[in-house]
Symmetry: D2
């Protein structure tokens, strides 16, 4: 059963044949190109410090994806004039496939670039767009979204402490950030940084600004690469960054001073659906592994297939219900 046929019926009836066809092309691209590319990618990546360069096979995949029309599907025309011709529901349906990491990168739909592109597309000046949006949409450079800090509860963005202080016709940035995803990628040229330009503003939602920071700016140092569940996810990486008198031109501010919180809120909507649908895709994949293990003829503990055990079947049934329910909840939110 192709991916398009697995969409819940009342939702499937809402999307065009073109979208259904694209969903199946995505699935075919995953099976025929991305999955076979994975071991090549691993070998090219290598070990030790060599891991922080970019495996060349990704450029091949990108060319193939572009030829299939699979490029920048995330940027819904409904939201941005530069957008692809898909609604957020339509791209959301594709996102179930995007649990395959190679696919995200090959089609230029990988986070955090997708959210960053949305910021630039929605709030950027023409100059900012020319410098950063165009090469991001072309897949020529990568970017980071730089918000989380060590010393404050960063789930509440009003708490960030990094200082952005006017100094002549530029800003000086001072502070620390961590868990900055993608900062290990050698192609990462742009940091989109949240900090405070007006820490004493009586309106706590007006204290913050967002500024575009070239990743090679003097004063910025990668202090160390962090690991998540033990993995450093090279060459993507999650960095601890320090800013010491990093000088950034005033033209790099987004929308204007004190509008940082507003910008953050503005770019988060579509991504919620994307993240949710990718999680559902990951859950489907995990469940398929459970099926495979439960029916593995050569792996019978105590002489019986795991799938002959009622408890295992109960796990599978419960997972099936939970995944279906989650998918319907998410899609219903965006229909």
């Amino acid at each position: 059963m192709p991916a398009s046929a697995r969409i819940p019926p009342p939702v499937r009836d809402k999307v065009s044949d073109r979208v259904l066809k694209t969903i199946d092309i995505v699935e075919k691209f995953v099976n025929e190109e991305c999955i076979p590319a994975d071991p090549v990618y691993t070998v090219q990546l290598g070990e030790g410090n060599g891991r922080w360069t970019y495996p060349p096979i990704m450029e091949d995949l990108k060319k193939k994806a572009k030829n299939l029309g699979l490029w920048n599907m995330f940027l819904a025309k409904g939201h941005y004039k530069e957008g692809a011709d898909f609604t957020n529901l339509e791209y959301g349906l594709m996102c179930e496939q995007f649990t395959c990491g190679s696919l995200r990168k090959a089609t230029n739909n990988s986070a955090p670039d997708t959210g960053n592109v949305e910021v630039l597309a929605k709030y950027g000046t023409d100059a900012q767009k020319k410098q950063w949006l165009t090469p991001l949409l072309n897949g020529e450079i990568r970017s980071c979204y730089v918000t989380t800090e060590l010393d404050v509860a960063s789930s509440d963005a009003t708490n960030v402490q990094l200082s952005i202080k006017k100094d002549g016709d530029s800003y000086l940035l001072n502070g620390q950030k961590w868990w900055i995803s993608g900062a290990g990628d050698p192609r990462c040229k742009l940091y989109i940084v949240l900090g405070k330009t007006d820490p004493n503003n009586s309106d706590k939602y007006k204290q913050q600004s967002i500024i575009l920071v070239p990743s090679n700016s003097p004063g910025i140092t990668v202090k160390r690469m962090l690991s998540a569940y033990g993995y450093d996810d090279a060459p993507h990486g999650h960095a601890h960054l320090t800013f010491k008198d990093a000088r950034i031109p005033e033209a790099n501010i987004i929308l204007g001073e004190c509008r940082g919180f507003e910008v953050m809120q503005g770019h988060m909507g579509p991504g919620r659906i994307h993240h949710a649908m990718r999680s559902i895709g990951a859950a489907e994949e995990a469940l398929s592994w459970l099926f495979t293990r439960a029916n593995a003829e050569h792996k019978k503990p105590f002489g019986k297939l795991l799938s002959s055990q009622g408890v295992i079947l109960q796990w599978i049934a419960k997972s099936r219900i939970e995944i279906n329910a989650a998918r319907l909840i998410v899609l219903n939110a965006v229909v």
Copy 2:
């Protein structure tokens, strides 16, 4: 927000304006007629043995329901030629309102009659339909579905032991049944009984037959009324019945001997959706009670509204998600 507006969007788009309008008429009927009728019903019902007669206010409600066109909505034309002009999805949507007991009875949509009507409509002969189906559809008599037994695991219908034995041109029934819902209602005239005509048949799905039994047949005794969670649900009731040489004409068999299991399977489909949607309606009502209690100004333990406690809010949020998910799962199964 009227009931029709609370239907999940992709499902709502599948149903006609007539159905949406009917759903809102049902809701209005519940609020304006059924809920006010409840205390009158309770007073008319009384206590002690008097509880086993039928409160006259129900006949008033029935007339009002018929005038509003709210009658026998459960019998989908898609399934039966006698059916109402609603699909099972459409009636399923109405079922969320049917947690109000008076509503079910007033509109002739109450179990177990609904399932029994389906059996007669689908499998009955013309004579059987004339004798039983017509008065059931008119709301003149009530019926029971008689399957569960004391001494066997009745969740597996092949286990039933009640004997249905040919004797001349009639059958003799011997055995016991319990948890027979509706047997306390003085208007109950029909038992639809599952038993065994051929207990030694090598095909265990061919041993059973279903037969139509007048409730006043000699040899049948109500041994006692049972309670569920302490309630006897008078005047509906749940009975323990004994059959001792109860003689039933052979023409009362449904479809023919040895087809009992087949008949049971055939009548269970639509009801699964009805039960599920009534349960969801009950869950919505329970959640609304939680809202009311959590915000009761006069019931503040330790000086604070319950709704100011995070744990209570977590209960509410979790319940909201679970109910929405369940509704989407059920409706998606029938769209």
Copy 3:
């Protein structure tokens, strides 16, 4: 394995042989006297209004219990001079048996009398003790603990509104109470009532008083008997009471005005252990029913014993762990 042998070893080593022997006598009394008495009790109780008299078999059981030395075990000598020669740990161990209702009543260890006896033993004057404590300890009368109200969050006892107002050398009581357990028993002669003598006291823990109220005082009416999970628990019952200018002598106050909250706190300690251990006994009994059902040879759905299903075994294993853990937690709190 007798009950004494099922006590967790490190706890068993803490109790004397006399206690272990008593625990086994209790178990024998349950099996040989109380369980056989249950059907007699039910027949004697009857139906309808007759249910609110007391079945005579209970007096027989009481005599037998007294002869075995099983009487008032709850009132620990460590707490009260009138107490039995058991610590709260020792009686707590016996409480696992007290899930059998007949046992509680036959041995004079039934709630709410146990807590009420503790109040009188700890805080009563000699006159109060003579009038109420002696006949309660003799099992001649029964009593209620009257705190919960309709219109306030009664889990917070500072909220109670019933007015206790000085009028000459007596008090006038006005207000309503509900869920008053034991008020249906014809032998109930005493209400221990919580209300407010000083509703404007700035210390909200000094507003309340507790007063001893003869159940037949003019001005007190049983408005109706309530049901819990559908059951009215006759002849014990749970009542809704109204108080209208009920006049009570001032000598009936416990400890003095404004000490009601203090009295409540004082009598609640030992009962926490008793309730917990009775619950654990009930859980053990429920688990034993699960064993019985899972191994019932004549109740095999789909041809297999329930105990051959892994999911059922998982339920049993999880229940076993949870009950053992709960017992250890409770006993460790009192060792």
Copy 4:
């Protein structure tokens, strides 16, 4: 409150003052020596291939531990004549401290050596003990327990396939093993290997044998080091091993051919308690981190301490109950 005072009272009463004192010495050693040693260990370990050598600070810790009498506490005299003077309950109580990795290694109580020592102490010949047990007990060498295989369900030990075939006066080993913990340690000199000497034996519990294998035997290769949750746990490590005609003297068999399953069962008892109590110690530590975070003054999302949120307090309360219950269950099993 020192560690000895946190032991549940009925269990504490079962252990001697010497044991309580030792438990407090262990706690002091953790706080004053092991925790300060952790950052030194990390620096000495280094990165890249250097990680697979052993940090010298561990030898210092071992000397200090020996001076404090903290050495080989796991080997209960009740079980083995070489054992320390602690029962399994007493060492189990100490195990709550052993969540600190440095402590396990410094005191020679680290897995898998503890279980391996038990095998040698219980089943080894004098020659085997002299060659392997003495240096293990002295902490001079390390060892692995080699059972799990890639291609079979290894939770059922009867499934192992590695071939142990007699060839003259030695055995030839052929097959693969993985998840072999400790195989990365440069001091690891001994593999205790489970395989099949008699794969066609009609008794499936007699097919297996266990043999002592010097880790540097020709024919054995470390194919790769695996990671667990992303971590390779260097220099300990978890290896994938291959055996190709590895020749081992026949004197290295444990107990004799076909007794492998018996040996496995024999050495698993005490370790169950050790693992459980270490897990409980880890849970306590995790809960202490939750306390710390919930009360972190500088990390207040949305202006409030996390500990002011009821949901967080509920997590803490539930965790407290679960940990206490688990500890009582485990200790009750061994008292």
